[in-house]
Subunit: 231 residues, 2 copies
DNA sequence: CCGACATATTTGTATAGACAAGCAAGTGAA
DNA sequence: TTCACTTGCTTGTCTATACAAATATGTCGG
């Protein structure tokens, strides 16, 4: 099986950049130059270079030429999947325990964060997630009833609030915050945390159609859970 | 200014999906069908559909057809920028204090993580980063001398190890892990942490040309630092 | 020296055609 | 019925050409 010509050109360019032969900001050979070098049609070169530009490897400027793109802003991208998916991906068993699932009146602070009136109705759930029977995440969540009216009648031992909410209220914006904190008494007890063990907390606020759909605090015992990955 | 034909086709497809007209898994009209509908050449349709497939909107199968892709994996992407950039972006003053900068012999555990021989030479630096004079990050870093031979002669009060390393050893792979932990005595003292305050730690291991280039542990006081963002 | 203009280069888009390769459904034989 | 084969549709790749649009450069006149 032969690799397509456009892919060979992409590989050639990537190799030259990776080897340091062409550095950031350098002018890359023009399409016509590569046409001569590889003995292919210009459209083939165009596809290769255009795809590399779309992938962020190169930048192009009509009339000027193609350049090696500035190395991606020195940053680490971290992907956080839903806890149930993550546990299943590890081949382990996910189970959930619904500790609370009720309507509450919003106090001032909560109302402000959720974008509702003080004293307004909110749904509140507290769910403990287990991995192979071991508690791994305590999910403390408030939901805007306007966007998920039948939240209270869901069975969250079967599908997670996350899955339900993304189905009924497609999210348009997400705010998140990761912090380390000391757990409150409930969290420490439910998560069976040892003395003085800190907590890794993910705050997540999701918007649907420019309203706050849901706000969640996800507590994890430091010893049993980290966010990790690679790229 | 007219929008290109291929872009119009992309918009048409995206609109149909967004409107719920075509749902997840549905068969999308074939290229020849779209050629008739838009009165363009097949290559033009091909480009539009191929780009949407590359973007993850559609999936294609030679011989079978083109389908609406499964909805994006429910996940949160978190971007972590370098501490100096982040502080400067807030309009604050970043300053660094070099606490250690020396060559050390690798013990077994360190050697394994860095991919060198036990007892081999490694560079070690310990740098305290301040935001407006307040300690905000303790950077504990090991560096492979083979990839950054003049690491010890750098002035890290001027540019960060991060900046130096990405310049001399273009990174090919990154592994990361975020965890909450209790700080050791040095970290607690240097970061001026209050009693029992937990630590938010980012572990980061970078590879260059399939060798480990550097490994860092970045300690942050929980009360003064969180990873946050939105999308 | 400097600005206006012409010119060459480069990328951006589009066409019409061609052949290959993979899949699915229909067809026919055992 | 079941299996093998054919046929048609679909995507995957590539070509050669064409014109448009943006940029850079050189030239010439003032």
């Amino acid at each position: 099986m032969t690799t397509p010509a456009y892919q060979q050109i992409k590989n050639y360019v990537l190799a030259a950049i990776h080897a340091g032969e062409w550095r950031e900001g350098d002018l890359v050979p023009s399409e016509n130059e590569l046409v001569k070098r590889f003995h292919v049609a210009r459209m083939t070169v165009n596809r290769a270079i255009r795809e590399l530009a779309a992938e962020g490897v190169l930048t192009r400027s009509q009339g000027a030429g193609t350049f090696v793109a500035a190395t991606k802003y020195q940053s680490t991208l971290i992907e956080i999947k839903s806890i149930a998916d993550e546990i299943r991906a590890r081949g382990h068993v996910h189970s959930a325990e619904v500790l609370k699932l009720q309507a509450v009146k919003a106090d001032a602070a909560l109302a402000a964060e959720m974008g509702v009136a003080t004293g307004g109705r909110l749904f509140h759930s507290l769910i403990l997630h287990h991995e192979n029977g071991v508690p791994i995440q305590l999910e403390d969540r408030w939901v805007n009833p306007a966007l998920a009216s039948d939240y209270l009648s869901q069975d969250f031992t079967v599908s997670t609030p996350n899955e339900y909410l993304t189905r009924v209220a497609p999210l348009s914006r997400v705010e998140y915050r990761i912090e380390a904190s000391r757990p409150d008494r409930t969290a420490r007890a439910k998560l069976a945390m040892i003395r003085d063990e800190p907590c890794l907390v993910l705050h997540r606020r999701t918007f649907s159609a420019s309203q706050v759909a849901s706000m969640a605090k996800l507590y994890h015992p430091a010893g049993r859970y980290q966010f990790s990955g690679y790229f």
